[in-house]
Amino acid sequence: MEAAALLELKGVTKRFGGVAALNGVSATVAKGEILGVIGPNGAGKTTLLNCVSGVYKPDAGDIKWQGQSITGLAPHRVARLGIGRTFQIVKPFGSMSVRENAAVGALFGSGEARRGPKEAFKDADRVLEVVGLRAKADLPVTSLTIPDRKRLEVARAVATQPKLLLLDEVMAGLNSVEVDEALDMVRAVHATGVTVVLIEHVMRVIVGVCTRAIVLDFGQVLAEGEPEVVLRDERVIQAYLGERYAKRLKG
């Protein structure tokens, strides 16, 4: 392995009633990479993210952060260790301005980053610059467009100064121009030294920005490797488009 593993998942399993949303998922995230997590609807991508960030407690398996187990830790504890996340359905602090949203992220978050309100607001401006919201800092959240709200979601998470950022479908619902802009944003965030895990449906995103990809299907890891290679994998095509289409493509 070229770099030390930041995050290590071993046999992570999460059941909802009789359904195993995650069934023994093992994976690692190396420092400095942009890892794409893809898979059809219901494959367990968001559940995986929820298990890592502490929103769900896995039924089995172990999650290690820099060598230490964080399985079942409360979300705020995970956040303070340096794991930031966004929500697929954005959850802004509605009565605050854009800057205030980012500032609250800077006030809390990872242990080393915690600081007083004054510095937090300075941090907020820096982060808004990175995600491209600097010009809209004083606007109320309610006046933002959907792509901007997704940016804000990322800004608030980045403001917590995470070592690892988990992005849950930040590009879903965006048009192709907006996706390009969002890709630039992810690259900009990554350039500040943050390791990124990206959950996406948009294949162009995975190929465009990810250094590695993991494919989930029915709660299990189906394939793993370089994005271009993984996307050409027969099993992956089958999972997404069905058996018949995969055969036709082959024949």
Partner: protein, 360 residues
């Protein structure tokens, strides 16, 4: 409240001016009743009735401001805060009446007991959200009052039972002045504490919880600890008011220490004034308390209501308060303080917009 700094506007100047006049009058008027000052023959700005109304108003400023910490900033509609008032009253009352403690030693224990109770009850209670929390907290508020009245030990009521507790009258010169300033001090402490909270990381965390608890949690806010801390802080301040009340009134029972209508009134005051703002609840408390006294006919200026049968005034006051609440919640959901902060102007357009936003 974290707000975009606005320029000084006319509304803000008017508010500050009015506030200063009210505070100056409230602080200075009692001095005219001191014996030493009266020998100089100044105009008497106060009488016993004035002191009663002013002290009660300060008491409600304390309670509404305290409620604002859990209800306004954190967004948890606590409907049982009167329990903390009663616990404060009974703590100080019991220590004075049964253990013969001096008042100034018994008073600090009122907020301590109320806060301890809130911390214990808050852990399970604050796991509930929305209506569930509101109803559960209301239940606690009622239950504590009933318990205090009905707990017996070997056939003897522990807390004075239905008879209540009689406290020896505190021997200080100018009792009215003393208790007014004490209650005013409690109100000032409540506002100061809120101010400190709102500038701190703690305050930002509380607002984040109100806005979106899940998002607050994943950016690193220890939501459980923060909620319990906010609840405890509100309880301590409310308990302080209760402690002062018990010695001031020198008699406490379930009716005057756990009145259910206090729950509604403190929330009403915070909402009408502006929940989540620093001075809103205090402004709401002054306004509403004066309105309650006015409708109740205790103010020098009274409303002549020939159509009301004798004794129907309190009910009439309740109706007016109810209507007022509905109107404010629909047309000015951020409270009257919103017109004075330089953010919004009092206009028909404002009411129309509010109506649109609040109607589903």
């Amino acid at each position: 409240m974290i707000r975009v700094a606005g320029s000084t506007t006319l509304g803000r100047r008017i508010l500050y001016g009015l506030g200063l006049v009210v505070i100056a009058y409230a602080v200075l008027a009692p001095i005219t009743s001191l014996d030493a000052v009266q020998s100089l023959n100044p105009p008497l700005l106060t009488d016993r009735l004035w002191f009663r109304i002013a002290t009660i108003t300060a008491m409600f400023v304390t309670m509404a401001t305290a409620w604002n910490i859990i209800g306004g900033l954190t967004g948890y509609a606590a409907f049982g805060n009167v329990a903390f008032f009663g616990i404060g009253a009974y703590t100080t009352g019991m220590l004075i009446a049964k253990a013969h403690w001096p008042f100034l030693l018994a008073l600090p224990l009122a907020p301590v007991t109320a806060a301890t109770f809130a911390a214990l009850i808050g852990l399970p209670l604050l796991r509930l959200h929305g209506h569930y929390f509101a109803v559960a907290s209301l239940g606690v508020g009622v239950a504590v009052g009933e318990l205090v009245q009905n707990i017996d030990y070997r056939g003897q009521s522990v807390f004075g039972g239905a008879t209540g507790l009689f406290l020896p009258i505190l021997k200080v010169p100018d009792r009215d002045v003393f208790f007014f300033y004490l209650m005013l001090g409690a109100a000032a402490i409540a506002i100061l504490v809120t101010w400190l909270v709102m500038r701190s990381r703690f305050g930002y965390g509380l607002i984040a919880i109100r806005e979106n608890e899940e998002a607050a949690e994943v950016i690193g806010v220890d939501t459980t600890a923060y909620k319990v801390a906010a609840f405890t802080l509100a309880a301590a301040l409310t308990g302080l008011a209760g402690g002062i009340f018990s010695q001031w009134n020198a008699f406490i029972n379930q009716d005057n220490s756990f009145p259910i209508e206090y729950n509604i009134q403190m929330i009403l005051m915070a909402l009408i004034g502006g929940a989540g703002s620093l001075f809103g609840p205090a402004a709401g408390a002054v306004l509403l308390q004066l309105l309650i006294q006015f409708l109740g006919g205790t103010l020098p200026i009274t409303l002549d209501l020939p159509f009301l049968p004798e004794g129907a005034r309190p009910i009439f006051a309740q109706i007016i308060l109810g209507v007022l609440l509905v109107v404010v919640v629909i047309f000015a959901p951020r409270g009257i303080i919103d017109f004075f902060g330089g953010r919004s102007r009092l206009s028909l357009a404002y009411f129309k917009r509010s109506l649109r936003e609040t109607s589903i």
